[in-house]
Symmetry: C2
Subunit: 255 residues, 2 copies
């Protein structure tokens, strides 16, 4: 039985300030909960609506056998846990994983994605999913949207549990990466054609806010601008789509 206080705490996790206070986040939807349970990230509790419980009894009993705490909620209580209009009826509360502290000391992979000022939670989650598909780690700098926002978690489709993500990376760490021979590539409308581009040994590809563009810090760090050539009339690509294309083309260059 879930206490009133517990329900209050878990439903507060929709808001960033309470996620920060509790150091927990809530993941909603069966696919995403499953990915979380299969990861190394600690699950505190699984919450299901009465209807979801009745319709998925076997799967849920399997979960209880594994030792997870499961509580069943009335649908009006369940709806307090989520910002979706028609929730699936299953969610889980996870401890936020420990932050990776110093990217410059930790990273060695050939391609790393660096996101700055990505304000749309859906785009952030989709980029995480793209990076997961292509096996890429992520640095978040300069006021990106919160990784653990329910919409970002949902859009990541569970990739938030797979990808190594360095949050709140200070600019000095980027300078450290530059000293570690990383070249900084910035996606731009006027840069080198990605199809003809020879990738450096170690690259950090930066994606910034679509509306405001790269910050002065990122511009100063940039070694090369890269561009997806266009054949149509759109002025730009959505940042998540652009990240997918650039990773799809550039990861081919290192094989």
């Amino acid at each position: 039985m879930l206490t009133k206080n517990e329900l209050k705490t878990y439903s507060s996790l929709i808001q960033k300030k309470f996620r920060n206070k509790e150091n927990k986040f809530i993941a909603e939807g069966s696919k995403i909960v499953e990915e979380g349970l299969n990861s190394n990230i600690k699950c505190e509790i699984i919450l299901a609506s009465q209807q979801y419980y009745e319709e998925n009894l076997k799967d849920l009993q399997h979960i209880i056998k594994k030792g997870h705490r499961l509580e069943i909620l009335k649908s009006q209580d369940f709806s307090r846990l989520t910002d979706t209009v028609n929730p699936q009826g299953i969610a889980a509360v996870f401890n936020k994983p420990a932050k990776f502290l110093n990217a410059a000391e930790t990273l060695s992979s050939k391609i790393v994605v660096c996101l700055e000022n990505i304000s749309d939670h859906g785009n952030l989650g989709t980029i995480i999913r793209n990076c997961d598909w292509f096996g890429i780690n992520i640095l978040l700098v300069n006021n990106c949207a919160d990784l653990y926002n329910p919409k970002a978690v949902r859009a990541s489709m569970g990739s938030i549990f797979h990808v190594r993500i360095f949050e709140d990376v200070p600019i000095e760490h980027l300078t450290g990466l530059k000293k570690n021979k990383y070249k900084f590539l910035c996606s731009d409308l006027n840069g080198e054609n990605i199809y003809k581009y020879t990738l450096p040994d170690k690259s950090i590809i930066t994606f910034s806010n679509e509306a405001s563009g790269p910050s002065q810090n990122i511009i100063e760090l940039t070694d090369e601008k890269i561009t997806i050539p266009k054949s149509g009339k759109a002025e730009s690509l959505n940042v998540a789509s652009a990240s997918a294309v650039i990773l799809a083309v550039l990861t081919q260059n290192i094989k």
Copy 2:
């Protein structure tokens, strides 16, 4: 001066049934309105909030000089025109363009995108933007989300005014395209590696709903399945990101 009835009609365009009844749609945001005004699609009226009007007087007077009707609204009236929480304060009502009737008789381009059952308006708009970037026409079949939904229009960032989109295409027209020597490619988790794939002379690339996958009709039409190889752990890509990657890689094959 906008009449009460006009405000009622224009604010009803948020809903599909009224867009269908009036054969009009509303586009919100300065960039999107600008793209609409630069297109061949007829604009009925431009609506601005008092604040937007005061802050963008020059641009708006330029628009009035071109002969467009402009009305200024109190912010609480303007908010009735939009489903966004913080609207920019500028919107315009456009006539829906005439539907393209028979894709099989009209299309000749080497690559065409066919969308079925794409239910998320954001994804639909983003795919339209992707297709616009790569200069590709679109067929919509089997219950796609409404093209003129405000969220789809917004996500297209004005590309809805550029791309040739065939709505509600009946399956028989797809069969007609097959007779016109189009090969049907279906994006799938187990198909030909897109990086090594030799594109047919004329291709229709189908993208279906992420959750439900391709319908029986599309499966029967499919000549070849194509896949974006993965190096990470994500189970799938977001459909808009997948479309961007596939178009980016395959349009290179025809140059």
